[in-house]
Symmetry: C2
Subunit: 204 residues, 2 copies
DNA sequence: TTCCCGCACGAACGATCGTTAGGTTGACCG
DNA sequence: CGGTCAACCTAACGATCGTTCGTGCGGGAA
């Protein structure tokens, strides 16, 4: 049946450890979740974790970096230049919302516990995040050049859209798939409305 | 000169302790910042902190609750009904951005470290936050009835606007006052643009 | 002056933390 | 069969945590 009897009989593989750790970090916070907590969740003694990871810090890093890497692999292509800026933004937003929903725990860990990492481990993660943000800003700027968007500052607009979506990822729990898709569509609408009218909605 | 010689000669009052604690909690996180860290910052021995607060948990609560209370006191009145919905939203956003900038550390602590509190201490803080969110949603709904806004769901729109602004509060560091005011105006524009066009920007 | 008490102190408590050392198991390879 | 090695174990290390205890000081009241 299974490939080998040496394989973990239950969910005790390296990836399972990362997943359980992510869930605990998301629920209790990085510092409040102990190695003993993680070990108990995986049904393993604390010392056994050190056969797979050199430190607790490294576990956090792998969760954060792995998430952001997969995130960029899945979401970034949606912003490719052969799409209209509006379609690209909508697709990216939908992809981000779907992805963030699929990896619920890791979203929270990557955004809220990243600061527990030393600077040199934060850097590669921040670089990935910046890459996505720049791509979003470039798409918005393209939309402005084509006259479909109008914003005072594309980079600022990208931050606003990203904050809006990542905020959603912190509280929105869809009932089912259609609920999720509806929310993705609505947030696409919201972002497009903002990007279209921002420049014209000057106060006073 | 001073009112009394019994007063703290330097910044060692109860409020100073809360302020230093907030800064440490914001920088290192609630769990990573120890009572000894706080004591050192205030130039006091750790045990002395317990003459002012019964526990570390209580310090966190007073920071979070005090912030949200002052927040509502300052920002909520901007949403009063004798203003046009658009003006109310703009004023509230400006007020929130200014207030959050003035209380930089506490914003971060109240939003990111609140979960370290037990449920019964989170409840009153959440109630205050919900009060603000409901007021924002009511203002948006009023704007829809008056025909100036168009959104599929006022509560969802309120969450989107709030997430956008609180996201800003986590990364935006203004150079000076005019920089801050310009950002407040721009985010007001962004929110108004979104609330106006959301309903009309349906995809497909 | 004497008493009082708010406030800060030094020292230590027990608990829990991340991590390590050393031993045991058992599937695989020659 | 005997050797190898990854994986897991038990036990414990030193450090640090939040917190408590008993004491000392010093200004205001009596």
């Amino acid at each position: 049946m299974t490939a080998s009897l040496r394989d973990r009989p239950e969910g005790r593989s390296r990836d399972d450890m990362l997943e359980h750790a992510a869930r605990l970090f998301a629920e209790k916070g990085y510092d409040a979740a102990s190695m003993r907590d993680i070990a108990e969740e995986v049904a393993v003694r604390p010392s056994s974790l050190y056969h797979h990871f050199p430190s607790k810090e490294r576990i956090l890093f792998e969760i954060c970096y792995g998430f952001q890497r997969d995130f960029n692999l899945e979401v970034l292509p949606e912003l490719r230049a052969d799409r209209s800026p509006e379609a690209a933004i909508r697709a990216a937003i939908r992809s981000e919302i779907l992805f963030s929903n699929r990896r619920w725990s890791q979203v929270r860990v990557a955004s809220r516990e990243r600061r527990s990492l030393p600077r040199e481990l934060q850097a590669p993660i921040n670089a990935l995040r910046r890459q996505y943000r720049d791509a979003m800003a470039a798409t918005i700027e393209r939309g402005c050049r084509e006259g479909v968007f109008s914003v005072p500052d594309p980079k600022l607009a990208a931050m606003a859209v990203l904050d809006m979506i990542s905020g959603l990822g912190h509280w929105f729990k869809p009932r089912d798939r259609s609920d999720l898709e509806r929310m993705a569509a609505r947030y696409g609408d919201a972002a497009v409305a903002m990007l279209r009218g921002w420049g014209a909605a000057t106060a006073g």
